[in-house]
């Protein structure tokens, strides 16, 4: 039980809230890293998912290829990304971690986007086509708005995974919240380690709640999102 007290004292220490190693900086680094990883994953997944979802063919091949990203352990990806990052002159920390996180984020985003487009009521799509909508208009004005809640659901899953996994970056000298965990272990300062783990868990929960709210808000009028 002393550990709980130690952790509370660790959080109460003003020194841990200041400077380049302080909690606010580490939280921002974590958000920056996770946010960029998810953003890049969306940029990669979206064109593929939207195209295959719209034409309605071949999507499952794309999904299965993307799912390899789920099967690869992030730690192995990180080890793989490190020499590549050196070769490109990007150094340690941020970039290799980002490379390792992107394949983790792609599968849920790709799968959900594909299914979201696919699952839009075919009668609605046919009606739009009958009214003279072009294919791009159908995608933009019908399929995407109606599929948005499901798409955001995929981004939520990806983001929570990425926030939890971004801690690995500390192993390759990155910043972010993993720093508290890795340094806590190295220094045998278990209060720091537990505090770091709590901060990561908290950030993951905040991400989850924020996306849930966003999903509800994104539902077009007349469509209910069960959550």
């Amino acid at each position: 039980m002393t550990l709980i007290g130690d952790v509370a004292r660790w959080f109460a220490d003003p020194a841990h809230w200041q400077g380049s190693h302080g909690i606010p900086v580490r939280v921002l680094e974590h958000i920056e890293l996770s946010g960029l990883a998810v953003a890049v994953a969306i940029l990669i997944a979206a064109p593929i998912a939207l195209y295959f979802g719209h034409v309605g063919r071949g999507g499952f091949i794309a999904i299965n290829v993307a799912n390899i990203g789920r099967a690869l352990p992030s730690l192995a990806l990180l080890a793989f990304a490190l020499p590549i990052s050196f070769a490109l002159g990007l150094g340690l920390g941020f970039w290799p971690t980002l490379f390792a996180l992107i394949p983790l984020a792609i599968p849920p985003i790709l799968t959900n986007m594909f299914v979201a487009i696919r699952e839009v009521d075919r009668d609605v799509v046919d009606a739009a086509r009958g009214m003279g909508f072009k294919e791009s208009q159908i995608l933009r004005s019908v399929e995407i708005p109606l599929g948005l809640p499901l798409m955001l659901d995929g981004m939520r899953t990806a983001s929570v995974n990425v926030v939890a996994t971004a801690t690995l970056g500390a192993i390759v000298a990155g910043g972010a919240l993993g720093r508290f965990i890795v340094d806590g272990l190295a220094l045998q300062e278990y209060d720091q380690l537990v505090a770091g783990a709590l901060l990561v868990a908290l950030l993951a929960i905040v991400t989850e709640v924020a996306f849930a709210a966003l999903t509800r808000a994104s539902a077009p009028p007349g469509m209910s999102v069960s959550r």
Binding site: G91, L92, G93, A173, L185, A186
Partner: protein, 313 residues
């Protein structure tokens, strides 16, 4: 490295069989074997140790000793009991680390930053085990602080105390445990012994690829590496001299069984000491670089060095 290890394991197995069959080993290079005792040399599973083992083996072979190599045995937890029990007769050791290993609570002697003192303490601890430590080399394998050649020449840095005017603007990189107050040989020691306070500390790894990469990429200014790290030569880094003796004396020295020394006429001691006399840090690091970076064979590297030093023909 992996394949080399398998080959060495095979050699080791062959050596075991050979000795089991009555010691019909492969002799020296035809020199007269006038009652030269047979020597079994061991080493831990680390390339520097195998090179050192080769140095000892080849100088002895050139002088008519029958040498059996039992290299790559494992860590010190395996090799130290092996020499105590007589499964090997000789190995290369590191003064302070070996003393701390065999005298864990420091009852006999504690390692210090002075190699002579540490050697004397180590001998005291080795006496009851029937072992003796011979002359130590200038070369060490201990914590070292390293800068790039650019940094060294622009700021004229040669020793750690030269960092004094610059440290406040420099970033130090090392293992994450470096800032711990329980680690007197890292950040705490730099502050207490040298009065150095760095602008920042970047947690990396224990003398590994991250520290090398961070130094090269200028993400840190000063890095903690081991003093015999081959990347110091390979990457043109400058190892700063520990002029105020912060680090414990981990100089390299041969450790021999006393029963072997007593069977010998003193030649063995003289030969091994002649290696230690010439083995400077730069010489060791160059050999390590040839093995670890240029992927040369330990045997060839050792032979070339002994010839260059005029120790064998």
């Amino acid at each position: 490295m992996k394949r080399g290890r398998t080959i060495l394991a095979a050699l080791f197995a062959a050596a075991m069989v050979a000795t089991a069959c009555g010691g019909a080993g492969t002799g020296g290079s035809g020199a007269t074997t006038t009652a030269r005792p047979a020597v079994i040399i061991g080493s831990t599973n680390f390339y520097e140790q195998i090179t050192l083992g080769e140095l000892y083996a080849q100088i002895l072979e050139a002088n008519g000793y029958k040498v059996t190599r039992k290299f790559n045995l494992g860590n010190r937890e395996i090799v130290e009991p092996a020499i105590e029990s007589g499964q090997i007769d000789l190995d290369a050791e590191y003064l302070a680390t070996l003393l701390a290993f065999i005298d864990k609570d420091g009852k006999v002697a504690k390692p210090t930053t002075d190699p002579k003192e540490t050697q004397a303490g180590l001998q005291k601890a080795l006496d009851p085990k029937g072992l003796t430590v011979l002359d130590f080399a200038a070369a060490t394998d201990q914590n070292g602080f390293v800068v790039t050649k650019d940094t060294a020449s622009s700021k004229n840095l040669k020793k750690i105390s030269d960092l004094a005017p610059y440290a406040k603007d420099m970033i130090l990189g090392g293992p994450p445990e470096c800032p711990s107050p329980q680690r007197p040989f890292c950040l705490t020691g730099l502050k207490n012994v040298y009065g150095l306070t760095f602008k920042d500390f970047k947690p990396l790894d224990a003398g590994g690829p991250l520290t090398v990469a961070a130094l090269e990429g200028k993400q840190i200014d000063v890095g903690l590496l081991f003093t015999s790290d081959p990347s110091i030569v390979a990457k043109n880094f400058v190892l700063l001299d520990d002029d105020k003796h912060l680090q414990l004396a981990d100089n390299i020295a041969p450790v021999v069984r006393k029963d072997l020394v007593s069977k010998d006429d003193g030649t063995l001691k003289r030969l091994l000491n002649s290696i230690s006399a010439k083995l400077t840090q730069a010489e060791l690091n160059d050999m390590n670089k040839q093995v670890a970076v240029d992927k040369k064979d330990n045997k060839d590297v050792a032979a070339a060095w002994l010839k260059k030093q005029g120790l064998i023909k």
